[in-house]
């Protein structure tokens, strides 16, 4: 069998190999390596084409030595700096040294620079594929980086110029610069801009501009209201962080305000109606209160007439009868007075300095029947009989009457039935304390007591509005009313200013 001619086939077998003799002449060069060695001729000295990098030994004369056998090494091609990594094989029989290596390349450009081409690689050689794969990975990475960059640009653009979703929002959104120029306005803000008489690129109205410049701490939002052509807009300002711009969110609140006003009117009308309803409640007993004394007067007068026609009529009897008639008439007069003034809507009357005794007197008169029917005693204690305070007497009387009526209802079924009104002066204030013999209310009830329609009375008795009226009256007098805590009985304390300035009086 003929031996396989390795030497002849060496360049093809090992495309990156170098065969040298002891004189350092290249006997054979791998065919691919040959491509990387410009101007190579067989017999060239190895050191004219290659430098020994590893094992490092610049003074080395030759590697064609026994000690190099199986040693690993790195050579560098002098012209293109192509690195070869491989192994030395020293054959003692032939005294030749063979270096078998692989190029150390990471990029295709290195390869291309070295003069080696695609065709120089065997189809089965995976090195190209590996480098290609590596470079494709790099290309993918570059691509993702580019996409990510693109995305952040789009994102930034969107942040600067709000995207279509904001444009479609039904709420006006405007972006203004520090100087008030409208940089952007979505579709919904068109009517607003029209009303303000401005447009994108122009300035906002002076008023809004002044608010922008007044925005105190620039990291907050603030609400403002303007009224233009009967419409009410609420603006909320938000600074755009990092830019000298502000976003304005606008809301048309015209309807809301209109509805609020309407509701307020209705509320007031309702309250007025209940005041009269309240009056109606009292009307029955008031009528009785009038008619009763009238009946007395009629009866006594009749008696007087009758008796005076008799012969044995005694003058002293006349005195008694006449006095009774007089007193009763006066009593009647007071009641009528009380009613007359009650029926007027006296909210707008000025505050007049009135004697507390008089107020309580009127109150007593108007409650007499109710108290009698409820068999409830009314005790009045005034610290100082000359005590006066600025008020609308009629309203105050009504407020007190409400409390008394409520108390009557509350203690109706109690064994002990009394209501006490104490009036005392404190610093700058007059205190009215209305206590009834009923026990103190639970904290839960106390909490809700002044709620507009809160009532503990059964349906036919309590509308829960009386107390609301009382509260309103007290408040209109610039006073306060509350239930006292830690008292054995239910006790209201009303505090009213003993003096009010003219301005307050006018309100």
């Amino acid at each position: 069998m003929r031996p396989f001619n390795f030497e002849e086939n060496l360049p093809d077998l090992l495309p990156f190999s170098i065969l040298i003799n002891e004189k350092n002449q290249i006997l054979s060069l791998g065919f691919t390596l040959e491509k990387a060695c410009p101007g190579f001729k067989p017999g060239d000295e190895v050191f004219s084409h290659f430098t020994l990098i590893d094992p490092p030994n610049p003074a080395l004369s030759s590697w064609c030595k026994a000690e190099f056998h199986k040693k690993a090494g790195t050579l560098e091609q002098k012209q293109n700096k192509l690195n070869l990594r491989g192994q030395f094989f020293f054959d003692s029989q032939s005294q030749l040294c063979l270096f078998v290596g692989q190029p150390q390349i990471r990029t295709l450009s290195q390869l291309a620079d070295s003069g080696i081409g695609l065709a120089d690689f065997e189809p089965h050689d995976l090195m190209i594929d590996f480098i290609l794969l590596y470079q494709s990975a790099e290309a993918s990475l570059r691509e993702s980086q580019r996409i990510s960059q693109l995305w952040s640009v789009i994102d930034k653009e969107q942040k600067k110029n709000p995207s279509s979703s904001i444009d479609l929002s039904p709420y006006p959104l405007i972006r203004v610069s520090e100087l008030g120029f409208i940089k952007y306005a979505n579709k919904a803000s068109e009517p607003l801009l029209l009303e303000m008489g401005t447009d994108i690129g122009k300035k906002v109205p002076q008023e809004i501009l002044s608010w922008i410049s007044n925005l105190s701490n620039k990291s907050t939002t603030e609400k403002y209201e303007i009224q233009e052509g009967g419409k009410l807009w609420v603006f909320e300002f938000a600074p755009v962080i990092g830019q000298n711009e502000f976003l304005i969110f606008a809301r048309d609140e015209t309807e809301r305000i209109r509805i609020n006003d309407w509701m307020r009117d209705k509320e007031q009308a309702l309250l007025r109606a209940t005041q009269f309803a309240n009056l109606g409640e009292m009307a029955a007993s008031i009528v009785h209160e009038i008619n009763s004394p009238l009946a007395v007067i009629a009866a006594l007068s009749g008696q007087l007439r009758e008796l005076s026609a008799e012969r044995d009529f005694h003058p002293s009897l006349y005195q008694d009868l006449a006095k009774s008639i007089e007193d009763t008439s006066l009593r009647l007069g007071k009641i009528v007075n009380g009613i007359r003034t009650l029926s007027r809507n006296s909210e707008a009357d000025p505050l007049v300095l009135t004697s507390v005794s008089e107020i309580l007197e009127q109150t007593k008169e108007l409650c007499k029947q109710r108290l009698q029917r409820a068999e409830t005693t009314l005790l009045i204690q005034i610290e100082d009989s000359d005590l006066k305070l600025p008020c609308r007497a009629v309203q105050l009387v009504q407020a007190l009457i409400n409390l008394i009526y409520n108390a009557c209802d509350a203690i109706e079924k109690n064994d002990e039935r009394w209501i006490k009104i104490e009036v005392m002066q404190k610093v700058g204030k007059v205190h009215f304390i209305v206590t009834d013999s009923g026990k103190d209310l639970s904290p839960k009830i106390k909490q809700r007591f002044f709620e507009p329609l809160f009532t503990t009375k059964p349906a036919e008795r309590g509308t829960g509005l009386g107390l609301g009226i009382t509260k309103k009256i007290i408040e209109q007098h610039l006073g306060s009313i509350r239930l006292q805590d830690s008292t054995p009985h239910t006790s209201f304390i009303i505090e009213l200013p003993s003096e009010v300035s003219v301005k307050e009086a006018k309100q």
Partner: protein, 120 residues
Amino acid sequence: MKVILLVDDELLLLKALAFDFQRRGFEVMTASNGAEAWEKLQVKTVDLIISDLNMPKLDGKGLLVKTKALFPQMPFILFITGSAILNEEEAKQLGCSEVLSKPFEREHLFKTVERLLGGG
């Protein structure tokens, strides 16, 4: 002598009416509210009751109902003063003989009493 029971919480009126009826030959019993009146009725019978409507403890209506239960034939005059609790029709239905309003005409009252008692 016929006995009249006067019921009213207005003391002055009670006094005046008592005086008038006594002068006219009636025996008068008084009560200042319906409950007092009812108690007195248990003790002594009367021939006629004149009562106000708005009174504490037991009002005129209550007294009327109670009286009529015990004394169906009892003449009963009720003073109604513009009250919402009871009107004339209702009162008559409950057995009230006559409804008067305050202030009343004295003569009319005396005549009504005479009528209801068939002479003094």
